[in-house]
């Protein structure tokens, strides 16, 4: 039988309020808690084996990380050639044995090659005296994007509208030209290249695929069978074929269907292909967000008298898009890197331009290709990193306002 004191209890004094247990601080404390704690259990055979495996794995990973990092630093920074006072080409980055100026066994990046090719890698064959137009478009773009990142920017909405509505036309006028009468002679797209083409394809794809993706996602949920069917088929079609096929079709097959004499610009074809392809993916990402929204949200809006479009714009989409920011940015990043595929239909995007530079015999050295590819990789990596960091910031900000 239970004692009376086990059944009846009346608290007379509050239970003590205790400080949290002390955590070890400092580098050694961190090391003990995060590294050693997984490998100091020798109380049983299983524990000992686990500890030893953990210790071995930790050492192994540490050793190879340091090794690889060191090799990269050594190649790109320490051994690398930075200056080229005599204006050499091939000889600059070859060893004495092979007729160059470097000591035997030298192996490092050849940065002067990038400096020599930088114009080609950035603009392609865009005429030199017109480069200011590309630069101006680029400066406006960067200024606009940076301005939009600051929340407290005055006239932020106006800047946003300018960038979305006016800037595309402005950029087109600057890059493609309006004709001699305007002082902006045409520069045809077969002269465009390098980062210019990469950014034109990627930014058009990003800016157009988001609204198109939203429209397709809404259409796929529509109650009207014709619209729903069309959107479903559209999405499944573009998702079902590889981008490389889309681009080949656009450049090889499309002209067969066009009347003779009608010629669509190669870059424009790639733009359309890449954009529609990305829209299909975007639509599915956004549809995922729409499905996560409780039906009650739509009903509450409806009951307040909002029509379908206002309901979508003010209530459903703001929430759905917030949920899927990681997916949206993921699609953007994928699209950004996929633009390299336009190289196969003869457009000289950054990778295509780098490829051309790799084949330049006057710079032919063992480190020629790797130097160029490191530069290309660095460019893509930084752009994608910016997108991913920005999306994380955006998520944190929206999470803060939401609950």
């Amino acid at each position: 039988m239970a004692k009376k004191s086990d059944i009846v209890f009346v608290r007379e004094k509050d239970a003590p309020l205790l400080a949290p247990p002390l955590l070890e601080s400092g580098a050694f404390g961190w090391f003990r808690q995060n590294i050693l704690s997984t490998m100091n259990d020798f109380s049983s055979v299983g524990g000992a084996v686990r500890s030893l495996i953990m210790a071995a794995a930790t050492l192994f990973i540490f050793y190879y990380s340091v090794n690889i990092l060191w090799a990269l630093i050594d190649f790109t920074l320490i051994e690398a050639v930075w200056s080229n006072p005599q204006g050499l080409k091939r000889e600059l980055c070859t060893t004495a044995l092979a007729g160059g100026v470097q000591h035997d066994g030298w192996h490092g990046a050849c940065w002067p090659l990038i400096f020599a090719k930088i114009k080609f890698l950035t603009y392609g064959a865009y005429p030199f005296e017109e480069l200011w137009r590309v630069n101006l478009a680029g400066v406006i773009l960067i200024a606009g994007l940076v301005a939009l990142m600051f929340e407290r920017m005055p006239y932020r909405i106006h800047i946003g509208l300018f960038m979305l509505v006016i800037y595309p036309f402005l950029a087109f006028a600057l890059l493609y030209g309006l004709g001699d009468w305007a002082g902006l002679p045409f520069v045809y797209t077969y002269d465009w290249g390098g980062i210019l083409v990469t950014l034109v394809v990627a930014l058009t794809g990003i800016v157009v695929s988001l609204p198109l993706g939203i429209a397709l996602a809404l259409g796929r949920q529509s109650k009207m069978p014709v619209i729903r069917g069309f959107c479903t088929i559209f999405i499944e079609f573009w998702r079902g074929i590889p981008l490389i096929t889309v681009l080949f079709m656009a450049s090889v097959a499309l002209p067969l269907f066009l009347p003779k004499g009608v010629n669509i610009d190669n870059l424009l074809r790639a733009l359309i292909g890449v954009t529609l392809f990305a829209s299909a993916y975007m639509a599915e990402v956004i549809r995922g967000g729409l499905q996560a929204i409780d039906k009650g949200q739509y009903e509450a809006g409806t009951a307040l008298g909002l029509n379908y479009w206002k309901n979508m714009r003010l209530i459903i989409l703001p929430q759905a898009l917030t949920y899927v920011i990681p997916g949206i940015v993921n699609t953007f990043i994928g699209l950004f890197k996929d633009t390299t595929l336009v190289a196969i239909i003869g457009l000289f995007d950054l990778l295509g331009a780098a490829q051309a530079a790799v084949n330049d015999a006057s710079w032919s050295t063992p480190v020629q290709a790797i130097t160029l590819y490191i530069y290309v990789a660095l460019f893509y990596f930084i752009c994608c990193l910016i997108m991913s960091r920005y999306s994380m910031r955006l998520e944190r900000k929206l999470a803060k306002t939401n609950d």
């Binding site: 509450a300 009951a303 307040l304 003010l314 939401n402």
Partner: protein, 262 residues
Amino acid sequence: MVRKTKKTPQKTMKVSDELLISMHNVSKWFGSFQALREINLNVYKGERIIICGPSGSGKSTLIRCLNALEHHQAGEIKVLGNVLDNNIRHVETIRRDVGMVFQDFNLFPHLSILENCILAPIWVKKMPRAEAVDLAMSLLERVKIPEQASKFPGQISGGQKQRVAIARALCMNPQVMLFDEPTASLDPEMVSEVLDAMVELAESGMTMICVTHEMGFARKVANRVIFMDEKGQIVEQNEPNAFFDNPKSERTRQFLSKVLTH
């Protein structure tokens, strides 16, 4: 449960002659399942009607038909002089003037409390923002939570959320308010703050149709109680004291004995 108020709302069967809502032989099916069977109901201006009944009896379906969140398939519904049909214009005019409060609040989580309230006045009624803010603040004051205006729905309690939902509906200055089990998702200690707001609303003369099992509240404010059974039909309809003290149908008696014993 309900706070004692000095003035008890008038409890005559009919408050005025102005017919706001009429349902005539309304039926509604979900697939082959009939959720509503030939519902006939007239609601006059200023009336406070309580609908109760077992789960699945079609109470929600009935009041959701009144602002066309569900579409009835037979019979005729007339709300504020407009026939509810497939004409989206009619439906939208009706929705502006019929407020609704849901069991799960359905506040917009991405908007602050104030923005929740001013959204519809601004976008549906085209009210200037400053005016909408004044209106919203006065209504938040009426439901006693003006100090929460700048918070987000995720930061307030269930009782507060439901009072915001009431204020949000009132911001459209509706002629009729529909409540679908407004206290059913609340922790017990928060029920009374919401019921207080509803009693106050009833005292102000608002026409209300309320699905609820809060029988104390029903006795206090209703001038008619309607009981529906599992078949989706109205079984009994009476003035509250008579309904609770002297139910006519066996089915009602059974139901009340379950609801009232604990």
